[in-house]
């Protein structure tokens, strides 16, 4: 019982402590922390636009956070969210651009989503295959696959798909675009927030139901907790390693939909950079629990957009330091109990 309370308490304490140290750093740069904090909240939660921006960042982070959290339950550390997101974003943009404009959205959106999920899923499952077939540690293989993704997409973009003299692909047809909340409800005016956020929350809930309510989720957790015991119970761990890595990549792929179909409508060099890695931080803060991913992603989304918004007053790097301190404190807090 005690450890349960502790598990919930640690992330909150870490966030609070990291926030305080962030204020201390701001103070050391010669700024008034209370002024910056005021501006920070004003720029983010103070307006519909700012809140929309935070929620938009949160949406992608929920997806990349889940892409780390699910494999974590099978004791796999997916460092490859970055590459999975990148190939998916590119795939979604290219697919969206190639679909005929006569295709109704009801067909175009699912097709684009399938293309994104397939690309991310293949990237994730590749690490699973390397692990199951050749025993390659997934940490190594996912990092390497990140590099391959970067080089491959860079090549495909510059040599084949980029609009001449730009670094982005052609704009997708309007039928594959996801409607923004501004557009359909007139809220969060001007922000890129779109219907993907409902998808993100739904996937988080479904992931939680999967893990804790289904037989496959039960077996997956057993594989992660005690692989030897799982094989005694007749559970084949290889299938689960493959499946969960593929699913993780596909979920990261849905995150790419938010960026491409929901906002930019094309793929651009660097548009996914860092979001996959932030997903690791989100998953760690959430203790890899799918439902806790949502508030954890919100916290990181807040810092990420907030850092941009007050960038004129304090360096954005301070907010990256706060993120890093949070994660370090969570790791220290959870490591101590063992």
């Amino acid at each position: 019982m005690k450890t349960r309370i502790r598990r919930i308490f640690i992330p909150f304490a870490a966030v609070a402590a990291a926030g305080l140290s962030g204020m201390a750093i701001i103070f050391m740069t010669g700024r008034d922390p209370s002024e910056i904090v005021g501006r920070l909240f004003n720029a983010t939660l103070g307006s519909g636009y700012g809140t929309g921006q935070v929620l938009f960042k949160t949406t992608t982070l929920i997806f990349t956070g889940l892409a780390v959290a699910l494999p974590f339950k099978a004791r796999l550390f997916n460092i490859g969210g970055e590459g999975q997101l990148q190939v998916a974003a590119f795939s979604a943009a290219v697919t969206g651009a190639m679909l005929p404009s006569s295709l109704p959205p009801i067909a175009a959106v699912p097709l684009t989503a399938c293309a994104a999920m397939a690309a991310g899923g293949i990237w994730g499952a590749s690490a699973g295959v390397l692990k199951v077939r050749f025993g390659v540690n997934e940490v190594i293989s996912t990092i390497m696959l990140n590099f391959i993704a970067q080089a491959l997409i860079g090549y495909l973009l510059t040599s084949h798909f980029a609009v001449p003299s730009t670094e982005h692909t052609a704009e997708t047809g309007s039928s594959s675009m996801l409607p923004g909340l501004d557009e359909i409800a007139g809220i969060f005016r001007g922000s890129p927030l779109n219907v993907s956020i409902f998808g993100a929350i739904a996937v988080a809930i479904l992931s939680s139901l999967f893990l804790f309510r289904t037989r496959a989720g039960y077996e997956l957790r057993a594989v992660g907790a005690q692989p030897d015991a799982a094989s005694y119970a007749g559970i084949g761990s290889k299938r689960y390693i493959l499946a969960v890595m593929g699913a993780a990549g596909a979920i990261a792929g849905l995150g790419a939909m938010n960026l491409v179909s929901g906002y930019k409508h094309y793929y651009e060099t660097g548009m996914t950079a860092g979001i996959g890695f932030s997903g690791i931080a989100v998953a760690l803060l959430a203790g890899a629990h799918p439902l806790w991913i949502v508030p954890a992603a919100l916290f990181f989304g807040f810092l990420e957009y907030g850092g941009l918004a007050v960038g004129a007053y304090v360096p954005r790097d301070i907010f990256m330091i706060i993120q890093a301190i949070t994660i370090l404190l969570v790791i220290i807090g959870t490591a101590r109990k063992t």
Binding site: R215, Y218, A222, Y232, A233, G234, I235, G236
Partner: protein, 516 residues
């Protein structure tokens, strides 16, 4: 014996881990210049004892005296300073270092940037290795050495640190027979030059051929210390696997039916060629308990893993196992279980339960595919919950919260009751395989588990019982097979076992003859 001749004296040493007593009131005295063996089954507490002598654990009570002086050690550093050295079962060598570099590792000059005098070290290694008959090249890369040579390096490492008392933890576990002979020659020469040696092993032949005296441990206690020249393997085996004073459960004579499990000419080798099972044949009939007696390491674990489909597929295997006519060799664990086979493995924490899961989730473990628990893609939580509570009631499993409490926080007896309840209650159960079903379980739980096993047998299930507790075997078994070196040397029939129960001590003695 004067005080100065005592190298090591343990007086009433106890050590508990959580609620489990690993060592209870252990007292051993080892004279200087002798080889003392500590023998016992896995889990008897030998390694804990060794770790306390080497300063890795602190005893909860009792005292340790070295050379007549009571000492208190906080770490291996203290032990080394007192002249105690340990050769671990798994070598702790850096493969990319030379022998000399490995030996001096941790014993270098004090200053961080002091030059390391490899030549001087190599010279003293040469002297040491000549004195004790352990030829080894100080310049050779450790990674290129054979296992026997690596072990010599470990021993030299300890001697280089001027150890007078050497502890060896299962030193022959990794050695080939010829290497074992050479090791023993080295150990004897060390003793003859005044060193004191404590060797931990469960191999009785080795105890008798090497040691001067032996202390036998069982369930954390020393059951006796004897001179090796005055004892026999049979006596040691009895001390090792000995007997509990059990509450005897009623065991009315069964009426066995047709054979359900037929093991036929089963042979199994390791990839290196060591014979683990050698033409093993036996049958278990419906409604009987077939007991297998034997000292650990005679093929029990290989037999169990083949029966459950968990054997290493790279190891060559011949012969067949049939369950009710169906060949099960080569089938997967899930396929075998679905044929109505339950298994209670020896190491329950590692194999039979998920410690971080709740009681309910563990009741489901291994049976999660059963239709009755299903509902859509998930589980029928109502049925499952009711079932878990019913089993908990029936098997007297005690817990605070069936959903929130992790199984790892229950006592050993309650954990085992969860496993027993789940496995015995498997639908359409045909064969029940039990390995040390009551190890680490308190007497009350033992009685309940024994009674449940007999009830299961009476329902017409074939039961295979592998146990190192002779009295457990005699109490429960319909027939008893004696396993030695991978084959059954003798099978006691129903009549013989029934008769044996009338004079258990004599019967235990007779079984002891067949397993050593």
């Amino acid at each position: 014996m004067s005080m100065t001749q005592e190298a090591l004296r343990l007086s009433g040493v106890s050590k508990k881990f959580g609620t489990v007593a690993a060592n209870r009131n252990v007292s051993i005295t080892i004279p200087k210049g002798s080889i003392h063996a500590v023998a016992g089954e896995n889990g008897a507490g030998k390694s804990t004892l060794a770790k306390m002598i080497y300063g890795l654990y602190r005893p909860d009570s009792g005292s340790i005296a070295v050379n007549g002086k009571t000492v208190s050690m906080n770490s291996p550093k203290d032990a080394i300073a007192l002249g105690i050295g340990m050769v671990h079962q798994h070598f702790m060598l850096v493969p990319t270092f030379t022998v000399a570099e490995n030996i001096m590792l941790g014993a270098e000059e004090k200053a961080l940037f002091a030059s390391i005098s490899l030549k001087k070290t190599a010279e003293s290694i040469r002297i040491l290795s000549e004195r004790y008959g352990m030829p080894v090249d100080p310049e050779a890369l450790t990674g290129s050495l054979s296992v026997g040579e690596e072990q010599r390096v470990e021993i030299l490492k300890v001697l280089y640190r001027k150890a007078e008392i050497l502890i060896l933890d299962e030193p022959t576990a990794v050695l080939a027979p010829q290497e074992t002979d050479r090791l023993f020659a080295v150990l004897r020469s060390l003793r003859d030059k005044g060193k004191t040696i404590l060797i931990i092993t469960h191999k009785l032949d080795e105890v008798l051929s090497l040691a001067d005296r032996v202390s036998v441990m069982r369930k954390g206690e020393v059951t006796g210390t004897v001179e090796c020249r005055n004892t026999s393997k049979t006596e040691l085996a009895r001390m090792m696997i000995g007997r509990n004073v059990l509450l005897r459960v009623e065991n009315p004579a069964p009426a066995p039916l047709k054979p359900l499990l037929a093991v036929d000419k089963l042979c199994c080798r390791t990839q290196k060629g060591a014979m683990k099972l050698d033409n093993l044949s036996f049958t278990v009939r419906a409604g009987e308990i077939f007991g297998i007696a034997g000292v650990e390491g005679n093929g029990q674990s290989e037999l169990l893993s083949i029966l459950c489909g968990l054997n290493d597929r790279k190891n060559p295997l011949s012969g067949t196992i049939r369950l009710d006519g169906t060949i099960i060799t080569g089938k997967s664990p899930a396929e075998i279980a679905s044929l109505g086979v339950s298994h209670i493995p020896e190491d329950r924490l590692k194999h039979a339960v998920i410690r971080s899961f709740s009681v309910t989730e563990n009741i489901l473990f291994g049976r999660q595919r059963e239709q009755r628990f299903r509902k859509g893609a998930g589980f029928d939580r109502k049925t499952l919950d009711a079932y878990a509570r019913e089993l908990a009631e029936r098997y007297d499993i005690r817990f605070d919260d069936i959903h929130k409490q992790s199984l790892g926080s229950l006592s050993g007896g309650n954990q085992q009751k969860v496993v027993v309840a789940r496995e015995l209650d498997r639908p359409a159960l045909k064969l029940l395989i039990l390995a040390q079903p009551t190890r680490g379980v308190d007497i009350g739980a033992i009685e309940l588990i024994h009674r449940s096993i007999i009830e299961t047998r009476d329902k017409g299930v074939a039961v295979l019982l592998i146990s190192s507790e002779l009295d457990e075997l005699i109490t429960l078994s319909t027939r008893i097979g004696c396993l030695y070196n991978g084959s059954l040397r003798k099978v006691f029939t129903e009549e013989e076992v029934a008769e044996g129960r009338t004079d258990e001590e004599a019967f235990e003695h007779e079984i002891g003859l067949h397993i050593t």
